[in-house]
């Protein structure tokens, strides 16, 4: 099944089938999410209305880590098994990951000013998230730096694999070191410390962003596959 899925044209058939459903789910989750975010969820006891930034900030932050893990998996696959589809997925993911990371940083900054009293501090969580952004940018540059796409893919894959170190640092920075950023609310071992009335909009938004990402990445993969096919055709003609 794995090799079947790794065949670009089979993959394309499946992705054409999935795409409209993902996009539809994105719209449904977004509308219901926005209803909860703006009308049906309460303000926070401490932060007041500012807490609503969380419903954008947290999905972006989770995606920025999730996309990177996916790219790391693809990079491993591409180096070991030399499969082009893994490179194509990596290449499709990188700019999206960079955008979600940037959105995390910007919304975090907007959230930080009214709550902490500062736009930016160099604490471990914020700095490691910024490093993640630079790694994404590095991936985009390296993968496009060579005339031969496969060469760029290879070096970008190595960068992605080495950058895995950053993931646990981002995740657990708030537990390992004193940071200004508060510790995790949802993934802690005891029960989550977000009230259900705020958890509902948060998860609606997380699913909405997730399906948004899946739809975009499927489109980008399609574009990349077609452009590679064109390249091969041109080489044959020349």
């Amino acid at each position: 099944m794995f090799t079947k899925l790794a065949n670009p044209s089979t993959f394309q058939k499946i992705s054409d089938f999935i795409f409209p459903k993902c996009f539809g789910l994105f719209i449904v989750f977004l509308i219901s999410g926005f209803y909860y975010v703006f009308f049906s969820s309460p303000p926070d006891y401490l932060q007041g209305e500012t807490v609503r930034i969380m419903y954008i900030h947290v999905p972006c932050a989770w995606l920025s880590l999730g996309i990177y893990s996916m790219m790391a998996g693809c990079s491993f696959f591409s180096i070991v098994f030399k499969h082009t589809l893994a490179d194509i997925i990596s290449r499709a993911c990188a700019p999206l990951g960079a955008c979600f990371t940037l959105a995390t940083l910007i919304t975090g900054s907007i959230w930080g000013k009214p709550t902490w009293g500062t736009w930016w501090v160099w604490d471990a969580r914020l700095t490691s998230e910024l490093v993640l952004f630079f790694i994404y940018i590095g991936h985009i540059f390296i993968s496009n730096a060579y005339e031969d796409k496969r060469k760029g893919d290879r070096y970008a894959a190595i960068l992605t694999l080495l950058g895995i170190v950053n993931l646990p640092i981002i995740k657990w920075s708030v537990d390992w070191w004193n940071t200004l950023h508060q510790p995790a609310s949802i993934s802690k071992l005891s029960s989550p410390s977000i009230d259900p009335s705020m958890m509902i909009p948060l998860f609606l938004m997380v699913f909405s962003f997730l399906f948004f990402f899946i739809s975009l990445v499927l489109l980008r993969i399609k574009g990349e596959v077609i452009s590679r096919k064109l390249e091969i055709l041109e080489q044959h003609r020349a």
């Binding site: 070991v80 009293g117 501090v121 694999l161 200004l180 977000i194």
Partner: protein
């Protein structure tokens, strides 16, 4: 062994070595990556009063006092409060605008100079908030039991 399997083991082992190496590195960097020190930590270190440091902890309940002081010729309001980690505490003196979330019983990080064992002159005050999110009505129910 097939070439693929060979590559698999090569890449995996290199990655494991790299990850172990960097975790050793970060483990040893531990003390340099903290954003602030707690009162007990800061009092154990010998820090000169000229050095810029960050101190963090809880604002002790009932410790916030405001008074007028003169800086140059202007009259300004000075805030004095106590930062505690429930073991040791330090008085903090600060002139300026406080963040909205600054209040008693909340976390806070201040940047400035440790003048002596009791006095910390803050230049910047940052509010730290915890990982709890709940609607205001619930807070009134939960708080008294805390």
């Amino acid at each position: 062994m097939k070439l693929k399997t060979q590559r698999f083991f090569k890449v995996t082992s290199l990655l494991i070595i790299f990850l172990i190496g960097s975790s050793i590195l970060f483990y040893n960097l531990k003390n340099n990556l903290v954003f602030f020190f707690s009162p007990s930590e800061i009092l154990e270190k010998k820090i000169s009063s000229l050095e810029n440091v960050r101190l963090g902890g809880m604002v002790k309940k009932g410790s916030i006092k405001k008074k007028e002081t003169e800086v140059g010729e202007k009259k300004v309001q000075e805030t004095i409060f106590t930062i505690t980690d429930f073991e040791r505490e330090i008085f903090v003196y600060y002139v300026g605008i406080l963040p909205d979330l600054f209040s008693e019983g909340q976390g806070v990080v201040v940047e400035g100079n440790l003048i002596n064992e009791n006095r910390f002159n803050a230049k910047i005050v940052l509010a730290k908030h915890d990982e709890n999110y709940m609607p205001p009505e619930l807070d009134n129910i939960v708080k008294p039991t805390n």
